[in-house]
Symmetry: C2
Subunit: 337 residues, 2 copies
C-alpha cells in the first residue's frame, strides 16, 4: 500500500490567502492521490471557498484556527501569543505527527521562529537553514542559508553543506552535487573570518563534493549545485537576484514599447522571450524548505499563487518519499563516528 503524505497548509498566510492557497493545495491533491491536505484557518472562511471547487473529500480536511499572524508582527511575539493562529496550529500538527509537513506563505520571520521553537530541530542539528532553489542558466542551485540564521558559526555552515547536498541529490536528482562556499575571491586565503575558518572544514568533509569558493558573479551561471552561505549574505543574494532580474526585464520591456518599430519587433519575439523568462520564475519550483527540522516546513513566497502552493505541497511528497530527514540523521551519525 502506498503511504499517504499529510500536508498542513496555512490557509490564511500570504498576499493571496485564502483563495490562491486553497486552490493550490487542492490542485496538488488532485495531481497526486497520496496527498492529504489539511487546510488550517478560520473554518467558515475556508469552507466557503471550498464550495467553489470539486475535490475528493478523503483528501481534504479543514482544521479550525481563529487567529491570523500579520507580516508586520514581531515574529517571536506572534508565535508565543497567537496560539490559535493558522501558522501555530499547523506547526503543532507537524510537531505532534498529525502532519508530515507544513506549507505557509505567511510571515517569514514567524515561520523561521516557529520552525525552531515549535516543530524543533533534529537532534544534533545546530541551526536549521532556509534553502530555496534559485534559477541559473544551467538549471537550479540550492542556496543555503538564505535568511534563517544570521551570524552563523563555521560548524553551522558545514551542516548546511551536508544537508544541502542530501537535498540536491535526492529531491532535485543531481548526482554528487558540487558544493561551494560564497566568497569574494577564488583563492582559499580570501574571505572574511567566517569563510576562512569554514573553508578547511568543508575541504575535510569526505561526504560532500566540495569544489571551493564561488564568487557571486558565478552564481547565475550554475557553477555549483549547493551554494553555502551565512544567512545575511544568502538573503542578499536571493533578494538581489530577484531585484536585478526584475529591474532589467522592466527596462527591456520599456524599450520594447518605445516606438511602433519596436512594438512590431516585440510581437515577433514575444513567444520565445516568454519561454526563456519562464524558467526564471519563482512559482515554477515551489517553496524553500527549512532543513533539519523534525518534520518539514516549507516557506513559499508571500506573493505565492496557486501554482507555487501546488508545487510546494508536491515537494513535501518527494521530501517524505526520499526520506530526506532519515538521510540527514544517518549523515549526523556518520559525522560522529
Amino acid at each position: 500500500m502506498d503511504e499517504k503524505v499529510i500536508v498542513a497548509v496555512d490557509a490564511m498566510g500570504g498576499d493571496h490567502a485564502p483563495y490562491e492557497i486553497i486552490k493550490g493545495a487542492l490542485e496538488a491533491a488532485q495531481e497526486n492521490e497520496k496527498i492529504i491536505v489539511k487546510l488550517v484557518g478560520q473554518e467558515e472562511v475556508v469552507k466557503k471557498h471550498l464550495e467553489d471547487f470539486t475535490y475528493r473529500e478523503d483528501q481534504v480536511q479543514v482544521v479550525d484556527a481563529r487567529e491570523i499572524i500579520e507580516t508586520e508582527e514581531p515574529p517571536v511575539n506572534a508565535i508565543r501569543k497567537k496560539k490559535d493562529s493558522s501558522l501555530v496550529v499547523a506547526m503543532n500538527m507537524v510537531k505532534n505527527k498529525e502532519a508530515d509537513a507544513l506549507v505557509s506563505a505567511g510571515s517569514s520571520g514567524a515561520i523561521l521562529v516557529g520552525g525552531q521553537v515549535i516543530v524543533g530541530r533534529i537532534k544534533g542539528i545546530e541551526r536549521p537553514p532556509l534553502a530555496p532553489l534559485i534559477p541559473t542558466s544551467k538549471g537550479y542551485s540550492l542556496l543555503v542559508d538564505c535568511g534563517a540564521n544570521v551570524d552563523a558559526r563555521p560548524s553551522h555552515l558545514v551542516q548546511f553543506a551536508r544537508m544541502g547536498s542530501i537535498y540536491m541529490e535526492n529531491i532535485v536528482g543531481v548526482k554528487n552535487p558540487r558544493v561551494a562556499i560564497v566568497n569574494i575571491g577564488a583563492e582559499e586565503e580570501k574571505g572574511n573570518a567566517l569563510v576562512k575558518e569554514t573553508f578547511p572544514l568543508l575541504k575535510a568533509c569526505t561526504d560532500i563534493n566540495f569544489i571551493g569558493s564561488i564568487e557571486a558573479r558565478e552564481v547565475p551561471n550554475g557553477y555549483a549545485d549547493v551554494i553555502v552561505s551565512e544567512a545575511f549574505v544568502g538573503n542578499v543574494i536571493l533578494k538581489l537576484y530577484e531585484g536585478v532580474g526584475g529591474m532589467l526585464l522592466s527596462q527591456v520591456k520599456k524599450s520594447l514599447m518605445s516606438s511602433l518599430r519596436t512594438k512590431i519587433g516585440a510581437l515577433l519575439i514575444k513567444p520565445a522571450l516568454k519561454k526563456t523568462l519562464k524558467q526564471f520564475q519563482a512559482d515554477e519550483y515551489g517553496g524553500a524548505p527549512l532543513l533539519g527540522l523534525n518534520g518539514l516546513v516549507v516557506k513559499t513566497h508571500g506573493s505565492a499563487k496557486a501554482v507555487e502552493v501546488k508545487n510546494s505541497v508536491l515537494q513535501c511528497l518527494t521530501f517524505k518519499e526520499q526520506k530526506i530527514n532519515e538521510k540527514i540523521k544517518e549523515n549526523l551519525l556518520m559525522e560522529r563516528s
Copy 2:
C-alpha cells in the same frame, strides 16, 4: 590660471594593458587640457605604443618601472617585494605628491593593500572603502564598501556613510543624498549584529540624510544614493549585479536568435534595446575610488578598455576640483567637535 591635475596611470595593469590603458589616458588628456598623465611602466614598451598616437607632449610623461604585478600574486607580498612595479612606483608618486591621483586596472588586492600601506589614510579615517557607482533604473548609486575591508566595525561603516555622502553630493551632484544600510528587512530591529549596532549610530548622524535599511531587492530601483555595507556583502552585491545582468541578457539574446521570426523581431528592436542596455555598462561611469586616502586611488575593472580608463582619469580631475579630500577632513573635524 587653471590648476593642473597630475594622474599617474598604471600602464601595465589590466587585461588590455598596455595598449587600451595608454589609449584611454591619452584620450582623457585630449579631452581636458588641465590633465597631465604620467604613464608608469616599462619605458620602451610604453614609448613604442605612444608612437601610434598624436598628443600634446606637455600633457604626457613616461615614468619607467621594470616590474609587473600579476593578478594571481598574493597582494601583500607583491606590494612589499616588487618595489619597481608600475603599481608601486605609481603609488609612491601619489604619496610623494608627484601625482594627485592614480588609476590602475591591475590586481584589486594589490591596489587595496598599496592604497593603505603606501599612499596612506587621511588622519582620522579608520578604513578606506572601495566605492564604485552601480547603475540603477533611476541613475547611479554609490556602493560603499564593496571589497576593501572585510569584518568591518560599526564606526567604519559610519565613516563610509559620511565619505560616500560627500562623494555623491560633490562628484555626482546629488543634493542631500539618501543614505541607507544594506539589511535583510526594513525594520530597525532586523539584521545581524553589525547592522544592529550600526543602525542607531547612522540615525544619530546629523550630517547625512539617513533613510534607514535597504533590502538588496531595492538596490536596482535606486531607492538610495549611498548604499552602506560591510565589504564582504558589498562585494557580493557588486559581483552578483554583474552576474545576473550578464546571464539574463545572454539568455534574452539566445532567445532572440532562436528562429527566423525572432531574428527579424530582434533587428527591429536592436537600436532601442542597445540604448537601454548601454546605461548598465560599467565602462560608462569610470572606476571605483578608494575613499579616505591622502591622494586619490581609482581602481578600474581588470577588463577595462580605453573608454573606462579615460573616464577614470577624468574622474580624478573632478575629485580634485571638488576638493573631496578637503571636505572629508572638514567632516572629520566636525565629527569630533
